[in-house]
């Protein structure tokens, strides 16, 4: 016999997650030994929370597997940078390859996971993270579209609300899309979400209750179920 119980965890005794805490929460969900690409900007900080014993191997699209931590001081080498163009280091077991091979790896579905920032994610997992759509914006896509369609799982990391309080989890993206139905999970400062089929399931909240969250996001939210034996 099994009992079905809600699987949500609500942390209402504290405030929202800080950026570093978000990175730690996400890092904790990365399976040991996974091949992972961390997008430029905030996702890069996830690396700081992956202990060496996790065996997670980082890919950088500019041609490397086995990327190590940021390089500092005398270890800085202009020939060894990450996708954000910051100096990094090389771990034992690293390999280098050219850009077509690097993106073949990505587009061919070999990366277990990528972590990307976002302007918006839709309830069906559409991602908008490359272009504000403003008329005078200079568009720049980099590898975002390739990562979004190529990685086996796409985790998004973002604040849930804009500075003016608009939710970034939306029914339909209003920003130009990066890829359709590609996002699997969303890690935000106030909640983590799982997109399964057409459901958006809330897994955990911080500084906000599930019911308050529902009232602030214009997308139907569900609570997952857990079978307890």
């Amino acid at each position: 016999m099994s009992v079905v119980s809600p699987s949500i965890v609500e942390h209402t005794d504290r405030g929202p997650l800080g950026r570093d805490e978000m990175a730690r929460v996400l890092a904790g969900d990365i399976p040991p030994g996974a091949y992972v690409n961390l997008g430029i900007g905030q996702p890069t900080t996830v690396a700081d929370h992956l202990p060496p014993e996790s065996g997670v191997i980082l890919h950088t699209e500019n041609g490397m597997l086995g990327m190590g931590p940021a390089a500092t001081g005398g270890a800085i080498d202009p020939d060894l940078i990450n996708a954000g163009k910051f100096p990094v280091t090389e771990l034992p077991g690293a390999s280098y390859f050219h850009h077509a091979d690097s993106f073949a790896m990505m587009r061919g579905g070999h990366l277990d996971l990528c972590v990307l920032g976002a302007y918006q994610v839709s309830a069906s997992g559409d991602l908008a993270n490359w272009h504000t759509g403003e008329p005078d914006a200079i568009p720049a896509v980099g590898g975002a579209m390739d990562l979004a369609v190529g990685a086996k799982q796409v985790f998004v990391m973002m604040s849930l609300f804009t500075r003016t309080g608009e939710p970034k989890l939306v029914k339909e993206c209003t920003y130009p899309l990066t890829a359709l139905r590609c996002v699997d999970r969303i890690y935000t400062d106030v909640a983590t979400f799982e997109i399964t089929g057409n459901q958006v399931v809330v897994r955990e909240t911080w500084g906000i209750s599930f019911s308050e969250l529902c009232s602030r996001v214009d997308v139907p939210l569900e609570v997952g179920e857990r079978h307890v034996h």
Partner: protein, 220 residues
Amino acid sequence: MTLLCTSADEAVSGIADGSTVLVGGFGTAGMPFDLIDALIRQGARNLTVVSNNAGNADTGLAALLAAGQVSKIVCSFPRQTDSWVFDELYRGGKIELEVAPQGNLAERMRAAGAGIGGFYTRTGVGTLLAEGKETREIDGRTYVLELPIAADVALISAHTADTLGNLVYRKTARNFAPVMATAAATTVVQVRHVVEPGALDPEAVVTPGIYVDRIVRVPS
């Protein structure tokens, strides 16, 4: 995660009947003999094999064919002076043959590994091997549409692996192996040497460990 197996039998375990299996090697150079012998012992049947040739003499791929485990072979060059096992099966109607230009064989596996849904090539235009295939003019030249070859399993050999699955090869024994490693859901490699991470030059790794699922060291 790459698994270091203790035997070739462990390395090929779980290959299901009806699987599509990529078999490395150009003739006998780079052929994964130990893995094939293990696959014969393992006994999976009704296999589709993709390999450049259809076996030489009585060992390796030829032995797998002789064991009756292969229902179809996709290759570029079945007919050789020592392909008697294949020849007899083929003439007896006991094996299906798809001949593909060698470059298409390689590029179609690369496409599968690289997320390419199809590509246009000039190879084969106007020949029997393009019959029934879509053609298209691009910039005044005619091209044929070729589709990816993805597989359940790749059986390949390499010279040295580190325990993360990074591979280097030796001379022309490299041939199809790096491409096959990218095109299969599970890539199984027999190697002569296994070393610790850091022992291979990162600039010289040919197959990054991300493509490798199982490794077994075999006596050379």
